[in-house]
Symmetry: C2
Subunit: 235 residues, 2 copies
DNA sequence: GTGTCGGTTCGGCGTGCGCCGAACCGACGA
DNA sequence: TCGTCGGTTCGGCGCACGCCGAACCGACAC
C-alpha cells in the first residue's frame, strides 16, 4: 500500500514553518498573491514560488493566474477543515502568548474570526447558541437546520433558497473551535451566514487578518434577529 | 502568535515515512512494543527509539514501560481522528495498488477494519446503515443514538449502561470512511459495539493487521440483530 | 519605446535530520 | 551467576531541503 509514504508526503507539506504560515494566512478564505504571502512570512519571492509550487502540486492550494499576478487560495472547505483540525491538536504550550501585540491579536481572534468561509471564535459560538435557543438549529446529534431555521435564513437573512439545495457540501456541519472548545455552525449554512453578515456590513475584517469586528449595525441586527446582547464589550 | 511554527512542528511529526508508518500501524488501537514497530517499518532499534521519543514528546503517542518492554499507543481517539482525517486527504494516486499482495490487503481493509477503536470499512458502514434503518440511530444532522438505540445497545449487545454515560467523549460521532466515502458510527457507542463484537467473537482480526473478518457466528448474529445479509461474499 | 513590478529559474550555501553500528544498561530466564 | 534480549545513548555519515541572490521573463503604465 505504501500508505506511510503518502501520509508523510502530505504532512511534509505543512511541516515547514513558512508553508504553514502561508496556509494559516489563507485560512481567511481569500486569494492571496505571491508577493503578499512573501511579505507576510518574511521570505524572498523566489522562496515563495518554490513553496507555492509544492503546495499546489500537493493539492492543498489552487492557483489562478491573472495578468502578472499569481493568486492562490485553499483548495476548498475540506482543506480548511483539515487545517483547523490540526490547529486543534496543537497542545497549549506554556508561556504563550509572549508579546503584547500577539496577545492583542489572539484576543481579537478569540473574539471573532472567519474560519475559511464561516464564523468562529466567541462570535461564531454565540450565533450558533442563539440559533439553537431560537429553534433554528436542532441539537439532536450535532447541528441540523430546522424548517424554521431554513425560512429564517431565506427571509430574515435574505439567503437565496436555491443556494440551500443540498449539493456536494453538507448543509450544516459542526466545527470545533480551538479557542472556545465549543462547536459552532459550519457547512453551507455557516458560509451563507458569514457572507450575508459581510454584505450587510454587520461584521468587518480587522485590518487584513482573519479577525472580524461586530459593527454597531451588526450588534443591533443580531439583537433583533437572534436576541443577542453585547458581544463586544465583555473582555 | 508564532502559530505557524507550532503547526509545522506538529506536521513534522508525521512528515517522516517511518514515523507515519508507525502511526498507521498504531491505528489498530493496540499497544505495540518498539521491537515490533522496528521490524514493521524495517529500521534499526536505535532509530525506532529516536522516533518514538519524538512522537511521545509531541503528544501523539503515550508510552507504558513494563519490564524491559516499552509499549506505545496512540494518545487517544482524538489522535486517531486526526490521522483518519489526514488519510482521507491523500489524493488517490495513479497506479495504486501495485502488487497482488497489496491489492489483497487493500480489499480486506475495505471490507472491514478497525479505526482505532470502532469499526470502519464496508462492515462499519453496513452496521451504521442498518442501525439507521432500524431506528437505533437518528440521521437528523449526523448520527445520534435514539432511545431505542440505547436500549438495544444494553440489551441486545450487552453493553453496561454505566458505560454509556456522557463523559468527555461524545456518545456518537460520525467518522468519514476513506474507502467508502461514507459516514459510519464512531464515538463511545462505536467503540462499545466494536468491543462487544470482538468479545463475542463475531469478528476476528486478520493476522495482526487492522483488517477484520466476520465469523459465521457473527454473520448470524448481525442478521438476527440488525437484519444484515451476506457481507462477506460480495466482492 | 522604456521603466517598473510580480513572478520564475538556477546555482550554491548551510544545516537539520534520518539512518546506522557500536557500546552500554537493565530485566528476565536458565 | 551468566547469557539473552529489548531498549538506549552516542558518534558519525550523507542526503534532502529551505534559503538567498542574480539573472531573466512577461505584463502593465507612461
Amino acid at each position: 500500500m505504501a500508505r506511510g509514504a503518502d501520509l508523510a508526503k502530505l504532512a511534509a507539506l505543512l511541516a515547514d514553518e513558512t508553508r504553514a504560515e502561508f496556509c494559516l494566512a489563507l485560512l481567511d478564505g481569500r486569494a492571496w498573491t505571491g508577493r503578499e504571502l512573501a511579505r507576510h512570512a518574511g521570505v524572498a519571492p523566489s522562496t515563495t514560488t518554490e513553496h507555492l509550487n509544492r503546495l499546489v502540486a500537493g493539492g492543498l492550494l489552487t492557483e489562478r493566474r491573472q495578468g502578472r499576478h499569481r493568486y492562490v487560495q485553499l483548495a476548498g472547505p475540506h482543506t480548511a477543515e483539515l487545517l483547523e483540525h490540526l490547529i486543534g491538536h496543537i497542545q497549549p504550550g506554556p508561556g504563550r502568548p509572549r508579546t503584547l501585540r500577539s496577545a492583542a491579536t489572539s484576543a481579537a481572534l478569540a473574539r471573532g474570526r472567519t474560519c475559511y468561509d464561516h464564523l468562529a471564535g466567541r462570535l461564531g459560538v454565540a450565533i450558533t447558541d442563539a440559533m439553537l435557543g431560537n429553534g433554528l438549529l436542532d441539537h439532536a446529534a450535532e447541528l441540523a437546520l430546522t424548517s424554521t431555521g431554513r425560512t429564517w435564513l431565506t427571509t430574515a437573512l435574505g439567503v437565496d433558497p436555491a443556494d440551500l439545495r443540498p449539493g456536494r457540501r453538507p448543509l450544516t456541519r459542526a466545527c470545533l473551535d480551538w479557542t472556545e472548545r465549543r462547536s459552532h455552525l459550519a457547512g453551507l449554512s455557516g458560509a451563507h451566514i458569514c457572507r450575508r453578515l459581510h454584505e450587510n456590513e454587520w461584521i468587518k475584517r480587522i485590518g487584513t487578518s482573519r479577525a472580524v469586528r461586530l459593527t454597531p449595525a451588526g450588534e443591533q441586527a443580531l439583537h433583533r434577529l437572534l436576541g443577542l446582547e453585547s458581544l463586544n464589550d465583555d473582555q
